[in-house]
């Protein structure tokens, strides 16, 4: 495999996934927030809540379109750029993606049309049901995507089949109910709730600061603040649960996140609040440590030692020796179906992935060319590979956590002052809410980076290395697609932000009354200012 192509494929996937993930959290949260607003409309019958649902629904629509568009890329990119991965894991990984389409995306997309267009064609209750179905559909989408992702983090419910050279599905329930999928689903969707709540609260704060749309803004602020305060607490709780899971199933990710180079000595093991980790020298500079915190934080225990990176590397070296035997036996079995080779493979099967890791550094990427002389160097490099980039993990994690706690504070103050109806007396909080609008999205992006960079060097943890997973394209192909994505996506984000700011600034007032159209006749391009406000 050409390493340049692998790196470009990774770059493209990271860019498209991070880009897509700017819009997803807002969709996840806004749909339920819209449903809550419409619920109040149906209960109280006050038209202002319908207006709120429609205005925030319009902003939601601007975001939703681009989320759907960029989601298309994700569904197809596994096939276009990760063919070996798709072949090797498709038997397990494809199923949740297909179920997502059948169970969730169809639901969401079919009803979102009715949600926008059906106001005059459905009863109040009917439309409310449609809004809830859209919310449920978008969150079920997240469920199946995260079930698929859970398999990449913690591959349960599947075994390797040497006859078909791939992982095969054995236990549907184990996959769906895997701890990682469960915790990640809740963490991610609730992070979406936080994003949606911050969006509504921030824009409402903007109106309050300008003393515009006050009736509208006060109600929106109240609902968003209450929605957000519980969500932000839940996100922090789930973040803790995920950290513990990483400790249990992905020790390399956890060690990198916390910058632990040497296995800790309980109970005094310190939690490192600040450090500058150096991946090459394998040590931290400028550490600020808080003793006695790490054990209870990560393992929920004072007596457990947390394995450090240097020890994990030594362990990986042993795995790699066994893995090389597994891969060589597998290669032989694939050629002559020799039962003895199969028996050897079965003996070392659990370490096969490490053998593939070593294959990258073998002469000509051929393990049979390993000799006593070159083996130690190959083992060292493969073992070093098993550790993700510590600097990125350490700081990505800390940025995300810092954002999370900041949200709890902002929402808590917002909810408190809103409940006392004195929110307009605290412009500092309004300003903080407004400037905090993009922060949840940034925190979500950090979350993705921590989760997926921390999984490296694997696409499926412990089984398939990333370098093997990519399609065997030429560099030219990759440059073509990368340039295309960058150009298109830049245009999209420019259009999105333009419309979002335009409509958010415009606010809801001139939204309600239907506008008469000059003449009412067919419009032509030649008339300047045609259908001036008809986009409302």
């Amino acid at each position: 495999m050409d390493q340049g192509v692998v790196d470009l494929s990774r770059l493209q996937f990271a860019l498209t996934a991070l880009y897509h993930f700017q819009f997803v959290p807002l969709t996840l949260g806004m749909t339920f927030l819209l449903a809550a607003m419409e619920t109040v409309y149906v209960i109280t019958g006050k038209p202002i809540y319908k207006e709120m649902t429609q205005f925030w629904g319009k902003l939601f629509g601007i975001n939703f379109a681009i989320g759907v568009a960029t989601g298309l890329t994700m569904e197809f990119e596994f096939g276009t750029n990760w063919s070996m991965y798709s072949h090797f894991m498709g038997d397990v990984f494809g199923a949740p993606l297909a179920i997502e389409g059948m169970m969730a995306f169809f639901l969401e997309s079919t009803f979102v049309g009715l949600m926008f267009f059906g106001w005059n064609r459905l009863s109040r209750g009917g439309h409310l049901a449609v809004t809830y179905l859209v919310a449920l559909g978008s969150n079920l989408s997240a469920l199946w995507i995260l079930v698929a992702n859970g398999f990449m983090q913690d591959p349960v419910g599947a075994t390797f089949n040497p006859d078909t050279m791939r992982m095969e599905f054995t236990d549907f329930a184990a996959l769906v109910f895997s701890d990682d999928a469960q915790a990640k689903f809740v963490h991610t969707t609730i992070a979406g709730f936080v994003t949606g709540a911050m969006f509504v609260m921030g824009i409402s704060a903007y109106y309050m600061l300008r003393r515009q749309h006050r009736e509208f803004a006060a109600r929106s602020f109240r609902m968003a603040a209450l929605f957000g305060v519980i969500s932000s607490l839940a996100v922090v709780t789930l973040g803790d649960a995920l950290g513990r899971l990483d400790y249990l199933v992905q020790p390399t990710k956890l060690a990198a996140m916390e910058g632990i180079w040497h296995t800790t000595t309980p109970p005094a093991a310190p939690w490192t609040a600040f450090a500058i980790p150096d991946d090459v020298a394998q040590k931290n500079y400028a550490e600020i440590n808080i003793p006695f915190v790490l054990g209870p934080l990560v393992a929920h225990s004072f007596s457990t030692a947390i394995p450090g990176i240097i020890d994990l590397e030594q362990k990986a070296r042993v795995n790699t020796v066994r893995g090389i035997k597994a891969v060589m036996a597998l290669h032989q079995y694939s050629e002559d179906k020799d039962p003895a080779a199969l028996a050897t493979f079965k003996q070392y099967e659990q370490d096969m992935g490490y053998g593939f890791l070593a294959q990258r550094y073998a002469p000509d990427q051929d393990l049979s060319k390993l000799t006593a002389d070159n083996t130690p160097a190959v083992l060292d490099r493969a073992a070093r590979d098993t550790i993700p980039n510590v600097f990125v993990e350490f700081w990505g994690f800390r940025m995300m956590v810092a954002c999370g706690f900041a949200f709890v504070l902002v929402f808590a103050f917002g909810a408190y002052f809103s409940l006392r109806n004195e929110i307009e007396k605290h412009p500092w909080l309004l300003r903080a809410s407004m400037w905090a609008i993009p922060l949840p999205i940034i925190a979500c992006e950090y979350g993705w980076i921590v989760a997926e960079n921390g999984r490296q060097p694997w696409t499926v943890y412990g089984w398939l290395p990333t370098y093997m997973s990519a399609s065997s394209h030429s560099v030219g192909y990759m440059i073509f697609s990368l340039i295309g994505f960058v150009l298109l996506y830049s245009l999209f984000i420019a259009a999105e932000l333009y419309l979002m700011f335009k409509f958010a600034r415009l606010g809801p007032t001139d939204h309600a009354a239907p506008k008469p159209l000059e003449g009412g006749g067919p419009l032509t391009f030649s008339r300047p200012g045609y259908a001036d406000k008809s986009w409302q």
């Binding site: 072949h87 791939r166 065997s472």
Partner: protein, 379 residues
């Protein structure tokens, strides 16, 4: 026949259903996108055309996504190999597809000729190009594709992408698919549109039906001279799903006709295709757009059914190493996955069809220019 072989057959059938659903539902929206600049001569008319499919395009597009997901789940090796082999073409398809949702949502939100004109061009590209590529993919697969696998089942490409874009048979298939989509989209514009959109759509759609019929017959003649693929070794339908170490395969001119010679009843499919295209064209002319729409759907069944039956059991034959061709027998998931997915599809596909039909019935009725420009929620 063993259970595994039956499951593989069931999924080959479901793959066909999905591809037909994709052609009918997404093709309809694509046709509207392609026709947008031609049926709408001013802004109000164009917005009306967009709002005719406005409430439904999002749901229809999921057929495309589900198509990708289902191929991934049921035919992972096919998904991996075809999407990567056709890389440049697939990326072009993606680029054009991702413009569409954005174009729908953003076009009418800003007044201004330049803004809306730009998005109208985006509709044309994102309507026509995906349909051409969709058809061309069938055209390429029918001729065989240059790829082989190494021992880890990683594919290697043996051909340039330029061939996939520029070979004449693929272009013919692409135009056929484009014509079918225009027919379908035109029928929908007639069902929910009024004059002048109605009349223009009628002209384009009925012409497209006839063009499609001619292209389909032309393709049928052409296929006699194309080298098809045929098994020469012993085939075990329950074989483990791997492209490595399968039975021998030979290439012969006209081999794609073998299934029709062996089972003459299969001729129903191509005949259904041509007859429906012509009848659809006639009924659109006769101002029966709903009938024309359903006949358009039958045209898709005939067309994709014909291609599928001709190739069966091949899915994506290899010209450079025919023994590693991907077939219904060697490119599927494990029996467990296929079984799970059959059960889930059996539950969810009928539900999807029910609520899709309900949405269409809620939003039924004519869309008029004055309604669109007065409505707060329209595109």
């Amino acid at each position: 026949m063993e259970l595994y072989a039956i499951l593989k057959l069931v999924w080959a059938g479901l793959l066909g259903v999905l591809l037909i659903g994709l052609g009918v539902m997404m093709g309809m929206d694509m046709g509207v996108g392609t026709l947008l600049r031609f049926v709408g001569r001013n802004d109000g008319e164009r917005r009306t055309a967009l709002n005719i499919i406005g409430p439904h395009w999002e749901g229809n597009q999921v057929w495309f996504i589900l198509g990708g997901g289902a191929i991934f789940a049921a035919f992972p090796t096919l998904y991996a190999t075809s999407f990567s082999t056709f890389y440049v073409v697939m990326i072009l398809l993606l680029f054009s597809m991702i413009m569409r949702p954005v174009a729908f949502e953003y076009r009418s939100k800003v007044p201004g000729n330049a803004w809306r004109e730009t998005w109208d061009w985006a509709f044309l590209i994102s309507g026509a190009l995906p349909m051409i590529i969709y058809g061309a993919a069938f055209g390429n697969v029918l001729q065989g594709v240059g790829f082989h696998f190494d021992w880890t089942a990683q594919y290697h490409q043996d051909e340039s992408f330029i061939w996939y874009l520029l070979n004449p048979f693929a272009i013919l298939c692409g135009l056929l698919s484009l014509a079918l989509s225009i027919q379908q989209g035109g029928a929908m514009l007639m069902i929910r549109g009024v004059e002048p959109i109605y009349g223009r759509a009628r002209t384009y759609a009925s012409a497209a039906g006839l063009v499609a019929a001619v292209l389909f017959v032309l393709g049928g003649v052409w296929i006699q001279f194309i080298k098809g693929f045929v098994f020469t070794g012993k085939v075990d339908p329950s074989m483990p799903s791997t492209p490595l170490g399968g039975p021998a395969v030979a290439r012969q001119a006209g081999a794609w006709m073998d299934n029709f010679h062996a089972i003459p009843i299969l001729w129903v499919l191509p005949i259904l295709g041509v007859v429906s295209m012509v009848l659809a064209s006639i009924s659109l002319r006769a101002n029966r757009p709903a009938l024309g729409w359903w006949l358009g759907a039958l045209s898709w069944i005939g067309t994709i059914g014909t291609a599928g039956v001709a190739m069966f059991p091949f899915l994506m034959p290899s010209t450079t190493n025919p023994a590693q061709s991907l077939t219904v027998w060697n490119a599927t998931s494990s029996a467990y996955t296929l079984g799970c997915m059959v059960i889930l599809a059996g539950i969810f596909v009928p539900i999807i069809l029910c609520y899709t039909a309900w949405c269409f019935s809620v939003m039924r009725g004519k869309v008029r220019v004055e309604d669109v420009v007065h409505d707060d929620h329209s595109y």
